[in-house]
């Protein structure tokens, strides 16, 4: 909206154009107000007592321990940032509802950041073919889908960092766009440095909250460092960037390391995760080694027993959880959760050190011997998200809240949780209210329009990605090549040959959207090339 504001300031007296601008701005801010009021109503009409699940203990227990006077430390291999925030909230407000309230506000702020980022992106097009009104309307539409969907609201009610992660994702988008704006479009060295520092710190916090965001963090931080180092002059700014961002990141890392020193789960978490989620491949490798007699590292008898147990457990969980993990074909979490789980029994038999070595050995041994099986597993998992029904967009129409509270109560009813919660007044009240709410019979229905938008987005996500990313790549090649480069030509020539060879096969074997995607790519780029020289 910046340029619009500029337009308003420039107009000294009332003219038809300024009137249109004023009406446009009024319509925009009215739409923003309606969306945010509606989003706030959707959030705050629900009970504010947060929901717990099986992972909640890892986030909540450090805060509860500190509140009852014990030491704050890691539990179940979780980080310290989210539990630390929970501790501060519970200490300040002495009410568990503060968790949901703050997370709801973060959700609304994320919607605001969505609009701010989208608005700033318009400045990257100095001569846009699509006018500003249409651009703004697309942004409003996106913010409305996010703010009015049930998925984010459900996350904001949970005691886990997913809602906070969504906020940080959007914050990183915003600071990144701001960084590029002040670095490239409207150069301002110091503002660029400030946004650069913000990117580095936010990216680190996001990766700390959820380690799966590590690649995004590395990508964003590496880009920023490269751009700052390559900027001409402003030596003091570069020193300030490293002088501020680096100590903060190092301090957070040291705190994380210090607090996790007594958490045994932190050491076991990654090896156990890698083992159980690749258990099928590892079991096949164990069986192959037993067959070939290559069992020097472990005794043959023990390994035979372990292999049989693993096979039995995979089969058992396949029958029980085949719907939850269709691609994997078994329930990996069941191999390690519970005192009677397979991994626990191995840990008892081997001891901590040998058990850790066992997990690491079999994972890396299997990676070395069956790399294709691992690639196949990764491709299968990528296919779960990059499918014709992208799971990022919630398709759930009904959300029975009483069921969620019943599960929450079950998660909080472990003896350790009950003991700690009953020691603080806010904990006892929280338990009582959760117990009441599980009989509340509240069912949250997703708005039909929002539901349709979610379904359409889920269905078209892959097709749009497959059309836009190769096209964007082609533009990059075209731009970076100069006159004599032949890469774009070869790229299109190769695509054309491949399509000619396989188009019929593709249409038969893949679903309709993938065929449509190839057609679109063919039409958009290849056809244009065939049409000959450009004549305006």
């Amino acid at each position: 909206m910046n340029s619009d504001c500029g337009g308003l300031k420039r107009c000294g007296k009332s003219s038809p154009r300024s009137l249109v601008t004023k009406v446009g701005q009024l319509a925009y801010w009215s739409a923003v107000a309606v969306i945010f009021v509606w989003a706030a109503w959707l959030r705050f009409r629900l009970p504010l007592d947060p929901l717990a699940d099986a992972d909640t203990w890892g986030y909540l227990s450090p805060a509860l321990r500190k509140l009852v006077g014990s030491e704050f430390g890691h539990t179940s291999g979780r980080n310290f940032i989210y539990p630390g925030c929970l501790f501060l909230l519970l200490r300040a407000f002495r009410d568990f509802r503060a968790i949901s309230v703050i997370q709801h506000f973060l959700g609304l702020i994320a919607g605001g950041l969505f609009l701010a980022t989208w608005s700033r992106l318009a400045d990257l097009f100095p001569r846009p073919r699509l006018n500003r009104v249409a651009h703004t309307a697309i942004g409003l539409f996106g913010a409305a889908i996010y703010l009015l969907s049930n998925g984010p609201i459900f996350f904001e009610m949970q005691i886990r960092p997913d809602a906070v992660c969504m906020f940080f994702e959007m914050l990183i988008f915003w600071v990144t766009v701001q960084f590029f704006y002040y670095r490239v479009i409207s150069p301002n060295a110091w503002k660029g440095i400030i946004y650069g520092i913000a990117i580095a710190i936010n990216a680190f916090i996001l990766a700390s909250l959820k380690p799966s965001f590590m690649l995004l963090t590395l990508f964003a931080v590496a880009s920023v460092i490269w751009l700052i180092l390559n900027a001409k002059g402003n030596f003091i700014g570069k020193v300030a960037f490293f002088g501020i961002a680096l100590p903060i990141i190092v301090a957070l890392t040291l705190v994380e390391h210090y607090l996790s020193r007594s958490d045994q789960t932190a050491k076991m978490f990654l090896p156990e995760t890698l083992f159980v989620f690749h258990a099928k491949i590892i079991e096949a490798q164990m069986a192959a080694d037993l067959k070939s007699g290559d069992t020097d590292t472990y005794s043959r008898e023990w390994l035979e027993g372990a292999c049989d147990d693993l096979e039995t457990e995979i089969q058992r969980t396949h029958n029980l959880y085949s719907d939850d993990y269709r691609s994997l074909g078994f329930g990996p979490d069941r191999l390690r959760s519970g005192a009677d789980s397979l991994l626990h029994s191995w840990r008892r038999q081997l001891g901590d050190e040998r058990f850790l070595r066992f997990l690491k050995y079999w994972y890396w041994h299997s990676v070395a011997h069956c790399p294709l099986a691992f690639i196949d597993k990764i491709a299968g998992q990528l296919g779960v998200f990059y499918s014709t029904n992208c799971r990022a967009f919630s398709s759930r129409t009904k959300w029975p809240l009483s069921l969620s509270y019943a599960r929450s109560l079950a998660a909080l009813s472990h003896p350790q949780s009950l003991q700690l919660l009953s020691k603080i007044p806010a904990g006892s009240v929280f338990l009582e209210r959760t117990q009441t709410l599980r009989f509340s019979n509240i069912v949250v229905h997703q708005n039909r329009g929002v539901q349709i938008c979610n379904v359409c987005s889920a269905r078209t996500y892959l097709a749009i990605l497959f059309v836009s990313v190769p096209l964007a790549g082609w533009f990059v090649l075209k731009r970076s090549n100069s006159e004599e480069s032949r890469w774009p030509g070869f790229f299109l020539f190769f695509l054309r040959r491949q399509f000619r060879k396989r188009f019929r096969h593709l249409r038969r074997s893949l679903d309709g959207s993938l065929a449509l995607l190839h057609r679109s790519l063919y039409c958009c780029s290849f056809r244009a090339a065939l049409d000959g020289p450009m004549v305006d």
Binding site: T117, L121, L124, R127, R129, L130, I138, G139, Y146, G151, P152, F155, D162, M166, E169, F173, F180, V184, S212, F213, L215, L216, F277, S327, L328, P332, I378, Q381, L382, V384, F385, Y386, C390, R391, A392, F393, S457, T460, I464, L465, V467, V469, L471, A472, G473, F475, K478, R479, S482, S485, P488, G489, F490, F491, A528, A529, G532, P533, M534, D536
Partner: protein, 91 residues
């Protein structure tokens, strides 16, 4: 440097922001696919805001491309068959 960057990240270079926003989800999905499983619903749902933003940006960018004149679209490179040298460019 600044002019070069301006050229790279915006304006007439009509490609780069799209892979950037697509990569934010991809980095996460790839990490989870390597270590864990994307079949856990919350790993996908947490990407809603990033996926939605990337998708809308891609749509907006495709509209921009669609509205461009072909002359502008092709400025700076030759058609592939000219580059390959197999067909003579028509006058």
């Amino acid at each position: 440097m600044c002019e070069k960057l301006k050229h790279c990240y915006s304006l007439n270079n009509r490609g780069r922001p799209t892979p950037f926003y697509g990569s934010t989800s991809f980095g996460n999905v790839f990490s989870i696919s390597v270590i864990h499983s994307m079949e856990v619903n919350r790993y996908s749902t947490v990407l809603l805001i990033a996926a939605l933003f990337a998708q809308l940006w891609a749509i907006r960018w495709l509209i921009e491309i669609g509205l461009m004149k072909r002359r502008v679209l092709w400025r700076g490179s030759k058609p592939f068959y000219v580059a390959l040298g197999s067909v003579k460019m028509n006058a």
